[in-house]
Amino acid sequence: MILTPKIVIRIALIGLLGVLLQLSFFSQVELFHVSPDILPALVVCLALLGGSLTGAVAGFSIGLFLDCLLVEALGVSSLVLLGVGYVAGLYRERFEIDNTLTPALLCMGLTLAAELGFGAIQLLIGIDAPVSLLIVRDLLLKSVYAFFLGWPIYVRRVLRPALVEEPKLRRRRQPRAMGV
């Protein structure tokens, strides 16, 4: 992915839509008592298309926007999602993605890592109440949902046409025999 101004605007719009969709839809529905979290999967897909720097910046910006809309302390989501974006981007830069399962598995693993990251920051800040074991179920289910969300976002290439400007192939004329 080459970062042209057009592509940067598209990434910003995708991030904005992703956050709005998360807050207005995904956070408010429950499947087996757990709400899916699309944002780590979205950041992973952006990083897999754009690399570590794009992933880190996209993760930071999406996290900042999320914290602004939720009126939470700024920086928590940014820190977690920038880590997710950077790791996913590094993976793309260092390894060949030759398996269609890889991006979905990365979405799953990094969503789990993101949730654990949120937990670690919350514990550092201080949790004034006991933590239920049910949180383990929630974390695992969120990761499974991320697998299924990452699949259409990356594997079915929902984002790719918007973010990668592929050169249009010129049609070549068929060579004609002389005098025909």
Partner: protein, 283 residues
């Protein structure tokens, strides 16, 4: 060239990490700031529209979720219905008696809200925190609708939480299940008082902590807000707002831990419409 790129990448990463820590340090526990207020003002109408537009899709997903749950819920509801029938007979007698007594002391108004002169403002939930570690929702009414920080928030079933921060067109509600939440409560009719705290990650379980071990509490009793007032200080919640039902309180547990398990009346995980109790006198 490659080394320069790597150095640049690391510099940007370091800058973003440091930026996140700086933001966290500056804004933690400070309420909303100018950036949040500005973005919230711009995006809360958009969130309101998105919330309404996506409601049919949400309802469809909820329908699937509830269908899975329905089988287990059916048998639980049958046993609950039997208990409620028994209680309703006793409740009707108590209400008759209550009405007569209220007339006697000229207090024939709503027992909870009217006595404290609260003005309920109805609001719709427009956003919810996506992580399992936070428990807050945003509503589409803010300071423009008369909402203030610390106003109690209720649903049709009982107390939900309180207003944590207010913007012109929206407000953030800290739910009962947030780790910072604590509500002084009492068990009726046992009279034991304590503090209702959450168990992080489980929206269907609250803990009634610091209860008096001499007053026996048992399953099925109702927990309501205590609402206290003393020398210039008052509880944020009026007395008598329903909170939940005691599910487990063995004598051994009560004596050893001075705790009881409570199931909240409000379906905190699936809030759609809530009421903010504005104005009124606290405690």
């Amino acid at each position: 060239m490659y080394r320069k790129q790597v150095r640049r990448r690391r510099a940007v990463l370091a800058l973003l990490v440091v930026g996140s820590f700086v933001l966290l340090t500056i804004t933690y526990g400070q309420g909303s700031n100018g950036l949040q207020r500005g973005l919230s003002t711009i995006f809360s109408p958009v969130q309101g529209i998105a919330d309404r537009a996506l409601k049919p899709a949400r309802d469809l997903v909820d329908w699937f979720d509830k269908t899975f749950d329905a089988r287990g819920e059916n048998s639980r509801l049958k046993s609950e219905l039997a208990k409620v029938r028994e209680k309703s007979v006793a409740g009707q007698e108590a209400m008759q008696e209550n009405a007569q007594l209220r007339k006697l002391v000229k207090l024939d108004r709503d027992p909870v809200l009217a006595a404290s002169a609260y003005q309920p403002v109805t609001a719709r939930v427009i956003a919810r925190s996506p992580t399992v570690w936070r428990s807050s929702v945003n509503i589409d009414v803010g300071s423009g609708g008369g909402v203030h920080v610390d106003d109690p928030v209720i649903s049709g079933d009982g107390l939900v939480g309180r207003i944590a921060s207010v913007e012109p067109n929206s407000a953030q509600v800290m739910l009962l299940t947030d780790h910072e939440s604590a509500v002084t409560a009492k068990v009726v009719p046992a009279g034991a008082q304590g503090v209702v705290k959450p168990e992080v990650g489980n929206p269907e379980h609250l803990i009634l902590d610091f209860i008096d071990s001499t007053k026996l509490v048992h399953g099925g009793q109702t927990v309501v807000t205590a609402g206290w007032r003393t020398q210039g200080y008052a509880s944020l919640f009026p007395p008598g707002l329903p909170l939940g039902e005691v599910t487990k309180a063995s004598i051994v547990d009560q004596e050893a831990k001075e705790q009881a398990d409570v199931r909240p009346f409000a379906d905190i995980a699936n809030l759609d419409l809530v009421q903010v109790l504005t104005g009124g006198s606290r405690g």
